[in-house]
């Protein structure tokens, strides 16, 4: 599964560079939304066909929000420590980490401060998404199913959700979706907020 995913992304990148005409770049946003909508429709069917899941989630209660909270803290702590080790500003590093894998938004937000920071946010968060796609099947198998949500960050509700749902179960998939929604709504608030301290 991981290798198929990696090969598909690589094939896409290569055909983007060598085969498809540059005029297609404008319509890519539409096609990504289309692919995502199709995918989420099938993920929805999968979740819906497992009866009794919503009851289970309700029994977990507000504790379910511990997952996005810990992912948020871990992501920000991770880039801050890495940034300090690489001699970068801790605040700027923290802001890049607060993108939680949502590369388009964090990059746009941070490029307001500098092109370099915007590009770093883009590269960091797109790498996070690709590493998440490839590593999640292994994390689910060897570390834990709930932990498999962690690498995805904000993308736990869309692009990475099918991989999580395939590697774990419908129960974890719902927690994943909730995690993704919470983290996604935090990105537009947290990134500018952290940059206030720079």
């Amino acid at each position: 599964m991981s290798i198929t995913i990696l090969v598909t992304v690589a094939l896409g990148i290569l055909s983007g560079i060598f085969i498809f005409p540059e005029t297609m770049a404008d319509s890519m946003g539409f096609w990504i939304s289309f692919g995502l909508a199709l995918l989420l429709f099938f993920v929805g069917i999968d979740i819906g066909s497992h009866r009794g899941i919503l009851g289970k989630i309700r029994r977990i209660g507000f504790k379910v929000f511990l997952v996005p909270l810990m992912v948020a803290l871990g992501s920000i702590l991770g880039t801050t420590l890495a940034g300090i080790l690489m001699g970068m500003s801790p605040v700027e590093s923290a802001a890049v980490g607060a993108g939680f894998g949502w590369y388009s938004l964090s990059a746009i937000e941070l490029s307001k401060h500098s092109a370099y920071l915007g590009t770093l946010a883009f590269v960091t968060n797109i790498s996070r998404e690709i590493i998440a796609l490839v590593s999640i099947p292994f994390i689910a198998k060897y570390i834990g199913k709930l932990e498999a949500i962690a690498p995805a960050g904000a993308t736990a509700m869309d692009t990475v959700l099918p991989v999580i749902s395939r590697s774990t179960n419908a129960h974890i998939a719902i927690i994943s979706f909730i995690t993704g929604v919470v983290l996604s709504s935090m990105v537009p608030v947290l990134v500018p907020l952290i940059m206030l301290f720079s």
Binding site: M1, I5, T8, V9, L11, I13, L14, G16, E22, A25, M28, G29, I32, S33, G35, L38, L39, L40, F41, F42, G44, I45, D46, I47, G48, S49, R59, K63, V67, M70, L73, G74, S75, G78, L81, A82, S93, G97, T119, L120, F122, V123, T124, N125, I126, S127, R128, I131, L133, S135, K145, L146, E147, A150, P151, T159, P162, S165, R166, I172
Partner: protein
């Protein structure tokens, strides 16, 4: 705005799945269909990365830094979730 559309589509799918409105033949293959849709999406995402020359160039200059950042956030996120996993998952352990 897209997020709202995605939620609606997913709830619609969940409704169909819950009411068993999807033919059994299709339900049996739902995993495969999901995976094929995912590959299609990843291919499209790859193409959009490949079409953007600026992105390709920026990977060359600050790629290593970005990958270290990404790995570090992932590792600490996993540790964070691990700390609370027993609180969130229900007893009985069928989810693990």
């Amino acid at each position: 705005m897209n997020i709202l559309l995605y939620i609606v589509i997913m709830i619609f799918g969940a409704f169909l799945g819950n009411r068993k409105l999807i033919p059994k033949v299709l339900m049996k293959k739902i995993d495969t269909i999901q995976f094929l849709c995912l590959l299609l999406l990843l291919f499209i995402m790859g193409v959009s990365i490949g079409l953007d020359e600026e992105v390709i160039q920026s990977f060359g200059t600050i790629g290593v830094q970005g990958i270290i950042f990404a790995l570090s956030s992932i590792v600490f996120s996993i540790i964070g979730v691990r700390l609370i996993a027993s609180k969130v998952l229900l007893k009985g352990g069928e989810e693990r």
